[in-house]
């Protein structure tokens, strides 16, 4: 799946948790991804982050890091 789409979607999830503290938001985003994203999408997202250059916001990036390894 395209890196651009995955990054856009995870950033969007993170932005919508702005009412939480960063730590809480990271947990919520990671949980949301696990609950609603197919494993292949998570793998692609993690791979995109590992490859560098994924333009994730801070909360999204920390949430993706929590997912590893998928």
């Amino acid at each position: 799946m395209s890196k651009q789409d995955l990054v856009r979607m995870v950033n969007q999830i993170a932005i919508n948790q702005a009412y939480l503290s960063d730590d809480e938001a990271v947990d919520v985003v990671a949980s949301h991804l696990t609950m609603f994203w197919a494993p292949a999408m998570l793998s692609d997202l993690v791979a995109a982050v590992d490859a560098g250059g994924a333009d994730l916001n801070e909360v999204a990036l920390r949430a993706v890091r929590q997912l590893q390894p998928v």
Partner: protein
């Protein structure tokens, strides 16, 4: 004089007609009618009391779906101790009253009245037995008419056949006003009137033809007409029905019950059922009349195959089609992995068909790559209401609106998309309830005959969350929270967090005014009106869900309802108006890739074990792909095979060019449908589906009402749709078999707690049931969360407003929003194949006069509509319904392809597409210009 016919059939409306409506109340009155004692509620008419005693008082202008009128003078009775012969329909009972419905005096009067009617009534008008007047002549014992038709009469007036579905023949009209009253009291459109006085009185569609009038063709007038003055063309052409099958409409989420009236194996009329809980005898133009698509010449009834989508279709046997499909799916999984295939269920199919298809994916495919078209409409409803209330469904029954004092209508256009519920809502508004409309467009309910919204918050597209936050801000900061309700019913902690959040200055109407475009003072007034209403109800549609913050908005509305104490009783609640007939059901049945039936996550070990025990296959604990994810994966080459049940994703889903590219990338696309739709044009296998007239099963409407769908004819394909999924599954190595659809519902009940008490037998007995149906609520649950929320305490969720990325800019300075129109349904596959196209032959682009003038566009001109993802062409319709800067269109016709321009943006939580906000530009164009231009990005 031979002006009489002996009727062969009476119209269905008369069969159980009590003459006047029931009068609710606890006080009762005992009367004696024709020597029979009967006790009825105070205020009941003599006519109805007689009917309840089993005595049918002759009548023409009275019917129990409308208020008594006292026009025809046929229902005269004598009352002991009272002079004269009053009309029984307009005379209420009184204690101890003794009534004679028949006597020499009364009988003679009635005969005289009916005889006079017949003297100006065409003799041949009831040749098929459809005329109550002639039936009444027989009832009152009229054997001869002394007056000829040579005198002054109405027999030379021309028939109005302008409406495609019914005729108006003034010759047969007795001016009883039943049609006028039906248009007023049932439909609420007031398109009909009585013009002239005395003998010159005529029923008129406001001085013009029916087709040119305000008539919405709901058919209430036709059903109400006691003669053949208003009559279905199908009855004229095919004759009166000879048998009736009760079933459920296949159009919108209102889920109207109908009597399918048959003549042999041919459907001749659909009459809305008075016993139908959702519609109580009313219908719209689609449900009552637009069923001809089921036998349309373009319908495909045989399976077809082709190796490549550039090949011609080859008609094959069911065995070959199923074998080909199963083998190809297996081959793809062997080559590309178990997750390389999936399926999409349809909200136009029955619960049983949907359940079996998702079972095929989970058990035979061995993955959770199943999703439903609800993904692109109400998936945020599922997410938002589950988070806050604990279950993914609306809280009320439709009847609840009759107790509402203030209705907050957000992003919904019920008079077009849910017309039968709209009529119910209009009745309540006309009776005094107040209305707040939140919509960028001036929908009909903002101002329509006898209805005017107290507030129209005409927000900019994409700012729903800002609006709901501002409303809640006023509630919290002006001391309007229902503290007692919140303390008793909601979580202390989450309420405290939400209260602190919503009270922040950035959520004030003043702070958000520039974003929303709604004056702060107007918004504050609306908030106060809603919060202080004894019963405040929220109704919403896709104008809420189809946004980048669709789920946030659903939670915002739930917060508002809880904070104002508007949950758990009649007249209140949070009520999604579902688009398709079985959106609720398809979601209930486990169509989402992360949930089993009953909204239980696939990672729940206990639930998974339950399914594994019943289905005998190991279930995956990880969620599968959603529809947009499937398309992305197809383009990426990792998703290779897709089964599409009764959907046209190539027309209905956003960014059609992307969807088309995805479908073209598949090695196997299987489409099960009635017609070769836009998606099927890209398919390798076409499996013919069944229309609702052939289905045996259930639909679940927007109020969680499970209605039976009963076949009125055998499947024209030779196979039930659920049987096809069973056969493919079996051919793939997972045997699946049922003898009949009721067994599928039995299995649904076995594995789904909210359906535990549902069976076809129970439904047939009860008529319909609203889930949950279980030991605690064996007859169902009309109102949810009465004593407590499904999740226990109500959960508040802070809802920060995050502006969409889709913004108007110099290149694309206008915002496009999309919607539906009354006569058409979704992608139009059904309604475009009926006479409904006479009302809407093409999609139009609504544009404000100033925006049109700026671009040199005149009304009716062809325009090119382009966004960053595509371009399409349609005609302009200049109107002040839309504000400057906003344009609007419908998506019913593939030729205009509105979704060519909608984008990949979606709800953050559910990926529900952001159909309602697309930045676009418009320029004059020639009709001959190529359509659907893909824009390189």
């Amino acid at each position: 004089m031979t002006l009489l016919h002996e009727p062969t059939e009476r119209r269905a409306v008369s069969a159980t007609d009590m003459g006047t409506p029931a009068v609710p109340g606890e006080l009762t009155v005992e009367v004696e009618i024709d020597g029979v004692a009967v006790t009825v509620s105070e205020g009941t008419s003599i006519m109805r009391a007689a009917a309840e005693a089993g005595i049918d008082v002759p009548k023409l202008c009275a019917t129990d779906s409308m208020k008594s009128f006292g026009s025809c003078r046929v229902c005269l009775v004598e009352i002991e101790g009272r002079p004269g012969t009053p009309a029984s329909c307009t005379t209420p009972v009184a204690p101890g009253m003794k009534v004679a419905t028949t006597s020499p005096k009364v009988d003679k009067l009635r005969q005289g009245v009916v005889e006079l009617y017949l003297s100006d009534h065409p003799v041949d008008s009831c040749a098929d037995g459809a005329c109550e007047l002639h039936a009444m002549a027989q009832t009152v014992g009229l054997t001869d008419v002394r007056y000829g038709q040579e005198g002054h009469n109405h027999l030379n007036i021309e028939v109005d056949a302008s409406n495609p579905y019914f005729t108006f023949d003034p010759k047969a009209c007795i001016v009883c006003s039943r049609c006028v009253r039906a248009c007023d009291e049932i439909q609420g459109t007031l398109a009909l009137t009585v013009e002239g006085r005395g003998f010159e009185s005529l029923i008129s569609a406001s001085g013009t033809s029916f087709m040119e009038s305000e008539c919405v063709s709901c058919g209430a007038c036709v059903q109400a007409c006691p003669t053949t003055a208003l009559q279905e063309k199908s009855i004229i052409e095919l004759g009166m029905p000879t048998r009736t099958v009760k079933t459920t409409c296949a159009y919108c989420g209102v889920g109207c019950s109908f009597d399918a009236e048959m003549r042999g194996d041919e459907l001749v009329r659909m009459t809305p059922s008075k016993e139908g809980g959702a519609n109580e005898g009313h219908s719209c133009v689609k449900g009552r009349f637009a069923w001809g698509y089921a036998t349309h010449r373009e319908r495909i009834t045989s399976p077809m195959l082709r190796e490549k989508i550039t090949d011609d279709w080859r008609e094959v046997s069911w065995d070959e089609a199923i074998s080909f499909t199963a083998n190809k799916f297996k081959q793809l999984q062997e080559q590309y992995g178990v997750d390389s295939i999936g399926g999409i269920t349809s909200s136009r199919c029955t619960n049983e068909e949907v359940f079996v298809l998702q079972k095929m994916v989970r058990a035979a495919f061995g993955n959770n790559n199943v999703d439903t078209c609800a993904r692109v409409c109400h998936s945020p409803t599922g997410y938002g209401l589950k988070q806050t209330f604990g279950t993914s469904a609306g809280t009320q029954d439709f009847k609840s609106v009759e107790e509402s004092d203030v209705i907050l209508l957000i992003g919904a256009n019920p008079t077009d998309a849910h017309p039968v519920f709209a009529s119910r809502m209009k009745q309540r508004l006309r009776a005094g309830a107040e209305l707040i409309v939140v919509d960028p467009r001036r929908i009909d309910l903002v101002r329509t005959p006898h209805v005017e919204a107290s507030h129209h918050l005409q927000l900019l597209p994409g700012t729903n969350v800002a609006i709901v936050n501002a409303l809640a801000h006023v509630v919290v900061t002006e001391g309007l929270v229902d503290r007692e309700f919140v303390a008793a019913r909601c979580e202390d902690d989450s309420f405290a967090d939400w209260e602190a959040f919503i009270a922040r200055p950035e959520n004030s109407p003043e702070a958000l005014e520039s974003a929303t475009g709604v004056p702060a003072s107007e918004l504050r007034a609306a908030a106060r009106l809603f919060a202080t209403a004894p019963n405040g109800a929220i109704y919403y549609g896709l104008g809420v869900t189809e946004h980048s913050q669709g789920s946030t908005m659903v939670m915002g509305m739930a917060n508002l309802a809880m904070a104002t104490g508007n949950i758990g009783r009649d007249g209140v609640g949070v009520n999604p108006l579902r688009g398709q007939n079985n959106v609720q059901g398809s979601c209930d049945m486990g169509s989402f890739p992360h949930e089993f039936s009953g909204y239980r996550h696939v990672s729940d070990d206990t639930v998974r074990v339950l399914f594994e025990d019943v289905w005998g296959r190991e279930m995956r604990a990880d969620p599968g792909l959603r529809i947009p994810n499937m398309f992305d994966a197809a383009v990426a080459g990792t998703f290779r095979g897709l089964f599409v049940q009764g959907e046209d994703v190539a027309q209905s889903d956003p960014n059609v060019n992307h969807v088309t590219a995805a479908l073209k990338a598949l090695d196997l696309l299987v489409v099960q449908d009635l017609f070769i739709n836009e998606t099927a044009k890209l398919a390798h296998v076409f499996l013919p589906g069944t229309s609702f007239l052939e289905k045996d099963g259930t639909f679940t409407n927007a109020e969680r009402r499970i209605n039976r769908v009963r076949p009125v004819m055998e499947p024209k394909t030779g196979k039930d749709e659920w049987q096809v999924a069973c056969d493919i599954s079996t051919a793939m190595g997972y045997p699946m078999a049922y003898d009949e659809a009721s067994q599928i519902m039995d299995e649904i009940a076995q594995v789904t707690p909210t359906f535990a008490g549902v069976s076809f037998a129970h439904l047939d007995e009860a008529g319909s049931l609203q889930w949950p149906v279980n030991d605690a609520a064996p007859q169902g649950t009309p109102i949810m969360h009465v004593d407590g929320f499904v999740r226990g305490k109500g959960h508040f969720v802070p809802t920060p407003y995050v502006p969409t990325d889709e913004k108007a800019n110099r290149k694309f300075p206008l915002l496009l929003t999309t919607g539906r129109i009354l006569s058409q349904y979704n992608v139009g596959a059904q309604t475009r194949r009926t006479s409904n196209v006479e009302w809407h032959p093409e999609d139009l682009l609504e544009i404000h006069e100033a925006d049109a003038a700026e671009r040199g566009i005149n009304d009716g001109d062809w325009v090119a509509l382009n966004s960053r993802v595509g371009e399409t062409h349609m005609r302009a319709f200049i109107t002040d319904r839309v504000p400057q800067g906003v344009v609007y269109t419908t998506f019913h016709h593939p030729e205009s392809g509105a979704n060519v321009v909608t984008t990949e943006n979606s709800d953050w939580a559910t990926n529900c597409p952001e159909y309602k906000v697309t930045a676009v530009q418009i320029r004059p164009a020639n009709a001959a210009d190529p359509l659907r231009v893909e824009v390189a990005t």
